[in-house]
């Protein structure tokens, strides 16, 4: 039944994770950065599901954890969008380079 080995799934999630990291650091647009964070979260989800499936097939904790993460990600997105809207109202931009007032 094991058509896809665990290592492949883990490689996929790693690629996804570092894509997210790369996007988070290289993009200047806050919305794009938010999307990168979603990528990171999804790579983690894949990890959870894969380990649940391959290491403990008779249990469901990994799957449940994934569901929780998806829920929290939704909440997080709504808060992030609210923050971004406020930023936009204040600075008229959502470019991260233009919003660095909070410093020493």
């Amino acid at each position: 039944m094991e058509h896809v080995p665990l290592a492949h799934v883990l490689i996929l999630s790693t690629i996804l994770f570092f894509l997210g990291i790369y996007g988070f650091f290289s993009r200047r647009n806050l919305i794009t950065m938010l999307m990168s964070i979603e990528l990171i979260l999804n790579s983690v989800n894949i990890n959870f599901v894969a380990f649940n499936k391959y290491v403990y097939p008779h249990q469901l904790e990994g799957v449940f954890f994934t569901l929780f993460i998806i829920t929290i990600a939704a909440a997080e997105v709504s808060i992030s969008i609210a923050i971004i809207i406020n930023l936009y109202r204040r600075f008229n931009t959502i470019d991260i380079e233009d919003t660095k007032n909070m410093k020493f």
Partner: protein, 644 residues
């Protein structure tokens, strides 16, 4: 009314007066506050007469000797079962005598001040301070233990400071108050160390237990105390000498006398009360309180006291001859007279036929309080009339101030030791006890009493005879009854106080003694006194050039005496040049560079570190995320290394 309650009331009434006047003084008229203070003090004086009567004639005697009577005592601080500090009130011959003197003179001064200080801005506070002083002095003399005495001792010092600096807008008054406070505090350091040593050796603070433990033959406390010696004196002698140092500070013994002449910056009635009659004899009282220990266990310390006293008596008397400020003359005269009391204690011993010096000293304390307070109040009346302290502004005042003149003359006769005035009897007793025990001190005392007569009558003739400096006369203010009555009452004391058979009331061991009195013996002092008075008359009775010529012929001696033998300058040299440069400056340098430097280095180090790292807070979200990621990677690496 019972005696114990009255004794407690004597102490409490001035305290209440002080608290009341200082809290509510602003709401009442100044005249009223003066009246309140005076009435309270007169009541206290009456109460102490009552207590003294009760003590001496009713309950004080046991088997023919006066014994101590604890009127009131409670344990204030209990450290452990052996060590506690009590507060209490003890009546014994010397404390009862002191109660009488203090309340009486204080009452006189309160009444006198109503006129003298009239119209002063801080009149109410003046009365409050006077009451505070009276309270603390009374507390001092009735103390049951060394520590209580020390507390009241300091209270007395504070109220003296407040009263010397009463005219605090005058820089000289501030300087004098500071000087008095610092000098006596310096002396009190010795007193405190002495108290600690004594109480460590005797394992108690209570006077009577301490005296018993340190005098009984074969007492383990005494043996432990005298077994160790330092520079030829036993530890006990050192402890007692340190205690005496405190007494010498308050009583202005050489070389700690420098504060007393300057203390004359205070109002004159204050000088009469504090710096003549009561506070300055606290040192004598202290030695008298511990006299038994001194006499039995440390006679070497006692003889040191005798020599210091004799030297101070002579020294101050010589200076008094040259001063021109009348209050300073009186101040040096006070130092000299207190030194008389001190060396009278010094030459006395313990036991039958040895201890009349003790009685003589207390007797002189008693009579001196009257005539010296009288002299000061009289001088105050003169100053009040001519608005100057200097002799050159005075002269020929006998017609303008008749009552002052007569009372001042009586006081001068008393202090000069002319019979039958008070000073004659007490000085006679001192001289004869000195004659029996130490001839050198006797001759010093004899010469000094001659000098005393000379400078007192120099003062008297300069003020009341001689020639008025201004032809038009002075602006004499009328003196009201409140200034004259204390003068008259005190002059009664100065005349008759010597007739009291003092020896039957006060002696070192409580048994009545007969003060030696030989007619033949008293011829010499009286003759010297009369000669000195005649000399003073010849020099100062009329205006003449003689005194100036005389002082020019002994210019060196005169100048050095006029400058108080440069003691103040020596002190200034030692403190300013030596102590200041050797200790003050290095200490200041250490404080500024080392201590401050360390603090500043900490502060500037913090500043530079935070300056250098504050750039990390850049406001860039992605930088923060980079740090975060870096941290995570590092942790991950650690975990990997650990579990590989």
């Amino acid at each position: 009314m019972n005696y114990d309650l009255s004794a407690v009331l004597i102490l409490i009434l001035p305290l209440i007066s002080f608290i009341g006047l200082s809290l509510f003084g602003k709401r009442i008229k100044p005249e009223l506050s003066g009246l309140i203070g005076s009435v309270v003090l007169v009541a206290t004086a009456v109460l102490s007469l009552f207590v003294a009567y009760g003590y001496f004639f009713d309950f004080g005697k046991l088997d023919g000797a006066y014994v101590k009577h604890i009127a009131f005592q409670f344990s204030w601080l209990q450290f452990n079962e052996n060590l506690s500090i009590d507060l209490g009130l003890v009546l014994d011959p010397i404390s009862v005598m002191m109660l009488l003197v203090i309340t009486f003179v204080s009452a006189m001064v309160h009444i006198y001040s109503m006129n003298y200080m009239h119209g002063e801005e801080r009149f109410t506070m003046y009365y409050a301070y006077l009451s505070l002083f009276t309270f603390s002095m009374l507390g001092l003399v009735v103390s049951v233990n060394l520590f209580q005495m020390y507390m009241f001792w300091e209270l007395v010092g504070v109220s003296s400071f407040l009263l010397i600096g009463f005219y605090f807008t005058k820089p000289s008054a501030i300087a004098a108050a500071k000087k008095a406070f610092i000098v006596t505090r310096f002396a009190d350091l010795g007193f405190l160390i002495g108290i600690l040593m004594l109480s460590f050796g005797a394992k108690t603070l209570d006077f009577f237990v301490l005296i018993e433990r340190l005098t009984a033959t074969g007492s383990p406390y005494l043996a432990g105390f005298t077994s160790t010696t330092f520079m030829g004196l036993s530890t006990l002698s050192w402890a007692l000498l340190l205690v005496f140092a405190g007494g010498a500070g308050k009583s202005a013994m050489f070389p700690l006398h420098i504060w007393l002449p300057d203390a004359m910056e205070g109002p004159t009635p204050v000088s009469a009360l504090i710096h003549a009659a009561t506070m300055v004899v606290a040192g004598v009282f202290l030695v008298a309180r511990l006299f038994h220990v001194f006499a039995v266990s440390a006679p070497d310390a006692l003889s040191i006291i005798a020599y210091i006293g004799a030297f101070t008596a002579m020294f101050a008397a010589v200076i008094a001859c040259t001063q021109t400020d009348i209050k300073r003359v009186l101040a040096y005269s006070t130092i000299s007279q207190i030194a008389f009391m001190m060396f009278a204690l010094g030459v006395a011993g313990w036991g039958e036929g040895q201890n009349e010096g003790f009685t003589a000293s207390m007797f002189h304390l008693f009579t001196h309080a009257f005539f010296k307070a009288l002299l000061f109040l009289g001088a105050g009346a003169v100053i009040h009339a001519v608005h100057s302290n200097e002799m050159k502004d005075m002269g020929g005042l006998r017609k303008a101030l008749p009552i002052t003149h007569v009372t001042f003359l009586l006081a001068c006769l008393a202090i000069a030791g002319i019979p039958p005035f008070a000073g004659f009897f007490s000085k006679e007793a001192i001289l004869s006890s000195a004659f029996e025990h130490n001839k050198i001190i006797f001759y010093v005392g004899l010469i000094t009493s001659g000098i005393t007569a000379f400078y007192m009558f120099r003062l008297y003739f300069r003020i009341f005879w001689n020639k008025a400096p201004h032809a038009d006369g002075h602006n004499h203010e009328g003196h009201t009854w409140s200034m004259n009555i204390p003068l008259i009452i005190l002059s009664l004391g100065a005349v008759f106080a010597g007739l009291i058979p003092f020896g039957s009331f006060i002696s070192a061991d409580g048994k009545a003694i007969e003060l030696p009195f030989h007619l033949m013996f008293s011829i010499a002092p009286v003759l010297i006194g009369v000669t000195a008075i005649l000399l003073a008359w010849a020099l100062y009775g009329k205006k003449s050039e003689l005194p100036a010529k005389l002082s020019a012929s002994i210019a060196f001696l005169y100048q050095s005496a006029y400058h108080k033998f440069y003691i103040d300058e020596i002190y200034l040299f030692v403190t300013k040049k030596i102590l200041f440069n050797l200790i003050g400056r290095p200490a200041a340098w250490f404080d500024r560079t080392i201590v401050n430097g360390m603090i500043n280095a900490t502060a500037s180090g913090t500043v530079s570190v935070s300056e250098s790292i504050k750039g990390m807070q850049s406001g860039r979200l992605q930088t923060y995320a980079m740090f975060f990621l870096g941290g995570i990677l590092m942790l991950a690496a650690l975990l990997v290394i650990k579990f590989m």
